[in-house]
């Protein structure tokens, strides 16, 4: 079967790629487009390490077929910082040491950004339930939750 031709906007760039009908968005990001920041921890949508947004919606790219990207707008971890200016979440994660090995970090950051876009003032419980689809085995989650809450507070303060 011939490969499919797909056009999508990825991190603000019009992008075209060819994929097999069975290939996942994660495979194409990592193996075709060189965007290896999205990670495969399970391939079954349980760990969230491959989190991206498609048209503003948080999805596991391992559960999405690459062909479904046609005409869509995709944001990955590579599109989170603006040039050499880190997103406030990225900066806060560094300041609070909210990562150890860092393999889950791209997915957690994408999911946390998506949370703050929808709910700029989340409670601890809301952060924990929103991020429940992202596994981290290193941190016990404590510093990640604090970093998300502090970022929300900072961003709220800054927007006043």
């Amino acid at each position: 079967m011939a490969k499919l031709h797909v056009s999508a906007n990825i991190n603000g760039e019009p992008t075209e790629f060819l994929c097999e009908p069975y290939e996942t968005m994660l495979d194409v990001l990592r193996n075709e487009l060189g965007l290896t920041g999205s990670k495969e921890g399970c391939g079954s949508g349980d760990c969230g390490a491959c989190s991206i947004t498609l048209d503003g919606r948080l999805v596991c790219s391992c559960l999405m077929l690459a062909a479904e990207a046609e005409g869509g707008e995709i944001r990955t971890i590579e599109g989170m910082a603006e040039g050499d200016t880190l997103h406030p979440l990225q900066q806060k994660f560094l300041e609070l040491a909210a990562l150890q090995c860092g393999i889950c970090t791209p997915g957690v950051l994408i999911a946390a950004k998506s949370l703050l876009e929808q709910n700029p003032d989340p409670s601890e419980t809301e952060v924990r339930f929103w991020l429940a689809g992202n596994l981290c085995r290193c941190t016990g989650y404590d510093k990640i939750v604090r970093a998300v809450l502090e970022t929300a507070a900072d961003m709220k303060e800054a927007s006043r």
Binding site: R30, L35, T36, G37, S38, K39, E40, G41, C42, G43, S44, D46, C47, A49, T76, I77, E78, M80, A81, L86, Q90, F93, L94, E95, L96, A97, L99, Q100, C101, G102, I103, C104, T105, P106, L109, E124, T125, V127, R128, F129, L131, A132, G133, N134, L135, C136, R137, C138, T139, G140, Y141, D142, K143, I144, V145, R146
Partner: protein
């Protein structure tokens, strides 16, 4: 301890590898790629136990796109009658673990590997390999494996003169336990079980290997030790170590599980045969079936105490699952079990038991949580029986400087009692509890470790610093190394870059394990930096034409001292670097050592739970860990280790276990059903760092990574008892088991 000020040690600096980690540009093993790269896949045994009578790879080799096939005959054999130690591993078992030799020993055991143009072709080729199996009776659980009529895994393993699945024994004795129990007013003993649990790193094992025609081999892989990868791959492929360059990719979690090789030797052989770089990445299912976990256990512990709370005797027998090949962490279980206490009479006995499941790998304080769990549970009952606060009882019996541990050593200055005192004094200890809520405490010990370590500290031409060490950084060790170097040089930490060298660019360093990394690298980095400082003083002395002894190094600059004080303007690091060529050449120093003096780490944990009596769910409401951390060079990453260990312990205590079907296959090889703690399962995890500096380390470092897992299982279990009045003797305390216990009451 150094006498210098602490401008950077103890500061929460930004880690040197931080920006790459939060932007997705950090390179983990699965992110690597090479021109001409092809893909490797492993064919795994569908049977838990089977003799391999023959393997026919001809159909796979004939498939278009297949470039190489390997099986056990391609791997160097280590005969079973001749032990070949490599660190704590034995190459007899390693060679049989990476590829089944005489027999497949567990479902998922590799039997062949293929390299092909695409992953899909490699997978198809695996399905074309014909293996002639003689399926054998199998045994998974310890209680079945030690029965007289159990299927025997290995003819060459004998116990008490007979073929057996008991493949090892370890014993520690102190005093006379019979006499000790005779002295006791209260004696309590019980049997306990814990289940095997996986390390649960989010990054599956991965590597990329390129073997050139002259045998020069480059390996990028996710491991806790690039030198371990080099040594094991060399021994299993017969390529000399000098021809193998093992590059440590960023590692996505290990927790002990990446202290051995699985894929690297296979990818090396496939690359050698095919002449192409070969990449291999495990699926999560492969990780769950064929790597790790730590042992399940069956143990019996008996403790005797006097009415006033003095522990007079302790006895423990621990059976630990090794998996399909010998080598469970019985030392950790037997030695750590009673280690926090000054007990005159101790007998601790451990057995290594093989069965048809994947070979265990190290997991955070290997064996220690398994030993501590029953001991800390029985102590809880003793405290209740004599009417004493369980922390007060621990304090009364706390090991301290001069106590002889049952496993041998006499303790130097340790901080165990301080962890108990801190717990007693903490507001958590007196906080009120509600209905169906309970509080538990427990303590734990881990050895910590030193060992071989190498460092190179170089001053760049523009007067900045590059430090290279040899231990993969699993949780922020580069940040701590930057703090130490900046402190010693008196410069801003942002001027120090810290890298993990590969096997060709830095001297041998033992793997990241045993909580050794900051202890060991702290010593060699300190000594290297001190040499650099001495060189800088000499260079300034040369420029000033005075004696080097008359030059001091302060705040990042050389200053004339003594009689010369004030005679010359200070020379900064930048100025001295700029004039390095004229004053004698490049400035840098390296030190390689077998570091010694790592001293034990102790922790005491306090946990509140609430039990949902309708659903059987145990929820952790509050958790505080108290730990003697020696010296917190970077407090955030010390807290991170404490919190991470607790979270893994919560999973072990409450949910994690392998479920086997009736055919001996793991039935839950994924994160959906192998239920590790998620964000919404946990509360904030409070930490209290107690700093009793290790007198044998320049910064006072003890090692902090592993002991946080040790007390957790019992702290939670004792809290569940306090909530429900039911004592559990078997983990995990998962909802079905909690409901069963609750229904038994009614």
């Amino acid at each position: 301890m150094n006498e210098m000020s602490n401008k950077w040690i103890g500061q929460r600096t930004i880690r040197p590898d931080g920006a790459e980690k939060v932007t997705g540009s950090a390179t983990f093993a699965a992110d690597t790629t090479m021109a001409g790269m092809i893909w490797g896949k492993v064919l795994r045994s569908p049977h838990p136990h089977a003799r391999i009578r023959g393997i026919d790879t001809s159909r796979a080799e004939a498939l278009p796109g297949v470039k190489a096939v390997v099986s056990a005959s391609d791997i160097v054999d280590f005969p079973v009658d001749t032990p070949v130690a490599l660190g704590i591993q034995d190459m007899r078992w390693m060679c049989r673990n990476v590829m089944a030799r005489e027999k497949a020993l567990f479902h998922g055991h590799p039997v062949a590997a293929v390299a092909a143009m695409t992953e899909a072709i490699a997978a198809e080729a695996c399905s074309l390999i014909e293996v002639d199996y003689e399926v054998l009776p199998w045994v998974v659980e310890i209680e079945d494996a030690i029965k007289a009529d159990a299927p025997i895994l290995h003819d060459f393993v004998e116990f008490e003169g007979k073929p057996s699945n008991i493949s090892g024994k370890m014993e520690h004795k102190k005093g006379d336990v019979a006499a000790g129990f005779a002295e006791a007013d209260v004696v309590i003993g019980h049997s306990f079980t814990t289940r095997p649990v996986h390390q649960g790193y989010i990054e599956p094992h991965a590597c990329l290997v390129s073997v050139a025609a002259d045998g020069n081999t480059t390996i990028w892989s996710s491991s806790q030790g690039q030198f371990m990868v080099r040594a094991m791959t060399s021994m299993l492929t017969n390529i000399p170590q000098s021809k193998i360059r093992a590059i440590p990719a960023e590692i996505g979690g290990g927790f002990g599980g990446k202290t051995i090789v699985y894929l690297e030797p296979l990818a090396t052989l496939l690359s050698k045969k095919s002449g192409r770089p070969v990449k291999m990445v495990m699926s999560r299912e492969e990780v769950m079936r064929a790597t790790g976990p730590t042992s399940g256990s069956m143990s019996t512990v008996k403790i005797g105490a006097t009415k006033d709370g003095r522990i007079v005797a302790g006895e423990g027998t621990f059976y630990l699952q090794a998996g399909g090949l010998p080598g469970s962490p019985i030392r950790g279980a037997t030695a750590c079990a009673f280690a926090p206490y000054d007990i005159p009479n101790v007998h601790s006995l451990g057995y290594d038991v093989v069965s048809n499941r994947s070979k265990v790998a190290a997991y955070r304080a290997p064996g220690a949580p398994i030993g501590a769990f029953p001991v800390e549970c029985v102590l809880d009952e003793i405290a209740e029986a004599i009417g004493m606060d369980p922390l007060e009882m621990r304090l009364k019996n706390a090991a301290k400087e001069g106590t002889k541990a049952a496993y041998g050593p006499v303790y130097p200055r340790i901080g165990y009692a301080e962890t108990v005192e801190a717990a007693l004094a903490h507001p958590h200890h007196k906080a009120p509890l509600g209905k169906n809520q309970g509080r538990g405490v427990a303590s734990g010990f881990w050895f910590n470790a030193g060992g071989e370590s190498s460092a190179q500290v170089n001053i760049t031409e523009d007067g900045n610093v590059v430090v290279t060490t040899g231990h993969p950084d699993v949780g922020g060790s580069r940040a701590s190394i930057a703090n130490i170097t900046a402190e010693l040089l008196g410069i801003d930490y942002r001027r120090v870059s810290v890298l993990i060298g590969d096997t060709a660019t830095i001297g041998f360093s033992n793997l990241t394990g045993g909580s050794r990394v900051l202890f060991a690298s702290g010593i060699v980095v300190t000594q290297s930096t001190e040499k650099v400082v001495s060189t800088l003083r000499e260079r300034a002395a040369k420029i000033w034409e005075i004696d080097p002894e008359a030059v001091t190094w302060e705040d990042g600059e050389a200053r004339p001292a003594g009689a010369n004080a004030g005679k010359f303007a200070p020379l900064t690091l930048e100025e001295l670097a700029d004039r390095a060529t004229e004053t004698g050449g490049p400035i840098g120093a390296g030190v390689q050592l077998n570091t010694t003096g790592a001293e034990g780490g102790f922790a005491t944990h306090m946990c509140d739970v609430e039990v949902d009596v309708e659903l059987g769910i145990v929820r952790v409401l509050r958790y505080t860990s108290f730990q003697d951390v020696g010296r917190a060079v970077h407090p955030s990453y010390v807290e991170g280790q404490m919190q991470g260990g607790v979270a893994q312990g919560i999973g072990w205590a409450l949910n994690e276990e392998y479920i086997y079907d009736r055919g001996g296959h793991v039935d839950n090889p994924g994160f959906l059903d192998y239920r590790m703690p998620i964000f919404s399962d946990l509360p904030m995890l409070d930490t209290v760092m107690i700093e009793i500096p290790n007198p044998k380390h320049p910064q006072g470092v003890r090692g902090v990574g592993e002991v946080p897992l040790v007390p957790t299982l019992a702290a939670i279990r004792n809290a569940v008892y306090n909530a429900l009045g039911k004592r559990f003797y078997s983990l995990p305390m998962s909802p079905p088991k909690v409901l069963e216990a609750l229904n038994a009451t009614e």
